[in-house]
């Protein structure tokens, strides 16, 4: 039994699940991810910051949709 882990937004901004509008999502629910994998981007003041996984796991669900405005420390992804 592994406990759930969450990824929080490091910054306030806009959350994107894909590197650009015409590209596929970085990861899907159910995907295995390793520490350092990118799961999304936060756009803040014209800069993009990668949101990375800190511990290996499986993407359980996304807490916010693509292009959602998020706050600092808002939950983005739940891992299992």
């Amino acid at each position: 039994m592994s406990e759930k882990k969450v990824i929080l937004s490091p910054l306030p901004g806009v959350f994107y699940r894909k590197p650009s509008p015409d590209q596929p999502d970085y990861v899907q629910e159910g995907d295995m991810v390793k520490s350092g994998d990118i799961v999304g981007l936060i756009e803040v003041m014209k800069n993009f910051y990668e949101v990375k996984v800190e511990e290996d796991g499986v993407i359980d669900r996304f807490s916010v949709e693509n292009e959602t405005i998020v706050d600092v420390d808002q939950e983005l992804v739940v891992l299992r």
């Binding site: 910054l11 306030p12 806009v14 015409d22 003041m45 014209k46």
Partner: protein, 446 residues
């Protein structure tokens, strides 16, 4: 004066306020357009009318050209001033304004498109007899072609996105191996950021200075320059401090550079104010980099040394009035410096949105601020919250005034780059004027 009765400003923040100020002085009514995130902003309050054009994200507001055209028609604006960024260099926007019988305050759509395509711009300037940085003349079709060109001109080379600008979409490459990696990633980034993944490459200049020339052209065929601005103090390839004149140029070099800028602008029949950007190497050789077909963030330093209101010139030129050559002084007057105040960490440059709970501004400086105390700096737009400009009889005096201004300035509640700006003013290399575009990087390492 200008024949415009009402000007819509298709921008936000400090430049919207700057344009409103000149319009007020010339008795022209102003219309602001704003996103939901900017509803409480100063520029919205200061305009005579304001139209909400959409939610916070730029694509749904400041880049929504039809929403802006609609706002102009609805308010009966006879001209649109695009400011800088957003739609300022968008040929389609200029064209749409014309179709609706609204004057776009800037050059023609075809000139915007020509200079917006960095490859076409280089070809144009080369044909006009202006030196460009050695590199490939056209778009790179493959990684093999890129390698061949890189080996011909010699590493290191700079790989660039044709549609890029503001330092976005470029990468220094030192070897074939690095080029292989960078080629794909740069194309990908360019594709996602600009919708165009065309790349070109050019020789990388190791101790470059970034010097630009302010030019203006009118529909009567006059093209003039208002000297240069030194813009080598940059972080993340974006300017933070600019000054005029450049401490690097002697009068002979200044005249040659300004003459080249005028020649380049003449070659394309440029109308309105614009900026020819050059890279200047250690030997003083200058190369055309790109042209910005709009007002620049750093235009105030030129205004300070020329006593010319560049926004007023933009309005007059757009109204088909001739440039008043008699208004241009025979020599630049003194020295001016601009510092950009950013809502970001002074060392890491990490953006820092939030509420400005205290703002104390310097008393003896020209201020171009977007915000006031109590304002919220949102995460949606550029981190620049304002600019401080000082003018002195000499460069040393302008620096001294800037030091005092920075000491007096307090921005509370958010991180800001005032400490970095102050340490640059105290730096001996800056004071000696012997810096290049690597200055900030070197300063932070030391």
């Amino acid at each position: 004066m200008s024949h415009f009765k009402k000007v819509l400003i298709a921008n936000r923040g400090e430049i919207a306020r700057r344009i409103i100020r000149t319009c007020k002085r010339l008795s022209i009514s102003t219309v602001a357009v704003y996103s939901e995130a900017d509803a409480a902003s100063l520029f919205v309050k200061e305009a005579d009318e304001a139209v909400l054009i959409g939610p916070a994200p730029v694509k749904k507001s400041y880049l929504d050209l039809e929403a802006i055209i609609q706002a102009a028609k609805q308010t009966g604006a006879d001209a649109v001033h695009p400011g800088y960024g957003f739609l300022a260099e968008n040929g389609t926007f200029a064209e749409r304004c014309a179709e609706e019988g609204i004057t776009f305050i800037g050059p023609t759509a075809s000139v915007i498109r020509l200079m917006g395509d960095k490859i076409a711009a280089r070809k144009q300037m080369k044909a006009a007899g202006i030196q460009i940085v050695p590199g490939v003349d056209g778009a790179l079709r493959s990684i093999d072609e890129a390698k061949q060109v890189a080996n011909e001109i010699g590493y290191p080379v700079m790989l660039k996105a044709s549609a890029g600008g503001g330092g976005i979409g470029m990468q220094i490459v030192h070897s074939d191996q690095e080029l292989e990696k960078a080629f794909e990633s740069t194309a990908q980034r360019a594709g996602s950021y600009f919708g165009d993944d065309t790349l070109f490459l050019e020789k990388y200049i190791s101790s470059p200075r970034h010097i630009e020339v302010q030019i203006a052209g009118d529909v009567h065929g006059n093209v003039v320059h208002l000297w240069e601005r030194e813009c080598s103090i940059q972080r993340r390839n974006q300017k933070i401090i600019e000054e005029a004149p450049s401490p690097f140029l002697d009068p002979v070099a200044r005249e040659a550079l300004c003459a080249a800028a005028v020649k380049g602008a003449e070659s394309i029949g440029y109308t309105n104010v614009g900026t020819m950007e050059f890279i200047v190497d250690e030997q003083g050789q200058y190369y055309f980099l790109e042209m910005n077909t709009r007002i620049q963030v750093e235009h105030p330093v030129t205004e300070e040394i020329s006593a010319i209101d560049l926004v007023e010139w933009q309005l007059k030129i757009a109204a088909n009035l001739p440039i008043d050559r008699g208004a241009i002084p025979s020599n630049p007057s003194g020295h001016a410096i601009e510092c950009r105040v950013y809502a970001e960490d002074a060392r890491t440059f990490m953006p820092s949105p939030g509420k400005i709970d205290a703002l104390v501004v310097p008393v003896e400086a020209r201020l171009e601020f977007a915000v006031t105390e109590g304002d919220q700096v949102t995460p949606f737009y550029d981190p620049m919250i304002g600019k401080i400009i000082t003018h002195g009889a000499s460069r040393a005096e302008a620096i001294e005034k800037m030091k005092q201004a920075l000491q007096q300035c307090i921005v509370g509640g958010i991180k800001n780059n005032l400490p970095l700006l102050a340490s640059i003013m105290d730096d001996s290399a800056f004071q000696a004027g012997t810096y290049n575009t690597k200055f900030v990087e070197t300063l932070l390492k030391g």
